[in-house]
């Protein structure tokens, strides 16, 4: 298998990771496509240095989140209202209305967070343990725990205020 084939196979297997990260960090179809391309390009750049010491998914999350962070830093993007348009770009068939509403509500909640917290909640929702989240983000396990507790608290407070 050539380097190119191996890279393509990895991207194909884990394309969901890139998709989900781009939906969390962008607000429009064009922004999402740009970030998507940027992430694939950065993964290709970094592919040679990937030694297989961590899981492929861990490496991908790390590169993809760093690409998203650096893009946000460059663009100094401010949080804006959540448009659902860009969440639909890969749908063959539309989601049902109820799921779409829940999806919108979920992204609205995530969009309230700062970029690092967005990454943390995304990894938590992906079912990652604190240790792996730390490995991806470069935070210590205890720091991850503290930050996630704060995020949970904030989400709970928002719920209470809404109610």
């Amino acid at each position: 298998m050539t380097k190119e084939e191996a890279f393509v196979a990895i991207i194909q297997e884990h394309e969901g990771i890139i998709y989900k990260i781009t939906t969390v960090y962008t607000n429009s179809v064009s922004e999402q496509q740009d970030l998507y391309q940027d992430i694939v390009y950065q993964l290709w750049r970094a592919y040679d240095s990937f030694r297989g010491e961590s899981k492929v998914s861990t490496w991908m999350y790390r590169v993809a989140l760093n690409t998203a962070f650096s893009r946000i830093r460059k663009e100094k993007r401010q949080p804006r209202s959540v448009a659902l348009d860009h969440l639909k770009i890969r749908q063959a068939e539309p989601y049902d209305k109820q799921f779409e509403e829940r999806l919108r509500a979920m992204y609205e909640q995530i969009d309230q967070l700062n970029s690092l917290d967005k990454g943390l909640i995304l990894l938590l929702l992906e079912g990652k343990k604190y240790e792996e989240i730390g490995e991806i983000t470069g935070l210590t396990k205890s720091n991850v725990g503290t930050r996630i507790s704060r995020i949970k608290e904030r989400l709970r407070n928002k719920m209470t205020k809404k109610a």
Partner: protein, 197 residues
């Protein structure tokens, strides 16, 4: 939404995403090339707009060519038309060539050779553009005076103040434009360096 509910929606979303895998080999490798092409997109847009203006101006000179009644004016007219048509189209062609370099299917050596050739051509055209734009400026004044006012515009004393001002502006604009090209090509070169096997 509590975390548990977020988790449910996220899991459902993940299931949907897994069902709809869309990337194929070609799309993935194209993405790695898109970034290189995009380096030249903005400058191509400016050059395209400039080319349209140049061609319209060439049309204007051509349309009024009968007003150019001496060999000198006619020579100026021909120079202006050639300058306004050939140079912008050559720049667009050079940009098209540099964007078309296939970073994925070429070997690294072929990419470097093709890129260096295309870059040198593009920068050469820019230098030609910079130097000939000074001559073109005088030709434009001659032609404007003749076509619009039917007189030798250099007989007017005030015109020289305008000439000096425009020449200074042109000097800065040319330097800025050429440096922009150097910056873009330099940054594209770094991208090519990234794909080094």
């Amino acid at each position: 939404m509590e975390l548990e509910e977020l988790q449910q929606v996220w899991t459902e979303l993940s299931r949907e995403v897994e069902k709809q895998k869309k990337l194929n080999h070609k799309i993935i490798m194209e993405m790695t090339q898109q970034k290189y092409r995009r380096k030249f997109d903005k400058v191509t847009r400016y050059e395209t707009a400039g080319t349209v203006i140049c061609i319209l101006s060439a049309g204007f000179v051509l349309f009024n060519f009968d007003k150019l009644d001496t060999i000198f004016y006619q020579a100026c007219g021909v120079f202006a038309i050639v300058f306004l048509v050939v140079l912008p189209l050559s720049v667009l062609r050079a940009l098209k060539k540099i964007k078309a370099i296939d970073l994925i299917n070429n070997t690294y050596k072929d990419t470097i050779v093709a890129y260096t050739k295309a870059k040198n051509r593009l920068l050469f055209l820019q230098r030609v553009g910079v130097f000939s734009s000074f001559i073109f400026f005088f030709v434009t004044l001659v032609l404007t005076g003749k076509i619009v006012h039917d007189k030798d515009i250099f007989q007017e004393t005030e015109i020289w103040y305008f000439v000096v001002l425009v020449l200074i502006g042109l000097l800065f604009f040319s330097r800025w434009g050429y440096r922009m090209y150097l910056k873009i090509t330099g940054s594209a070169e770094n991208l090519i360096e990234d794909i080094k096997p």
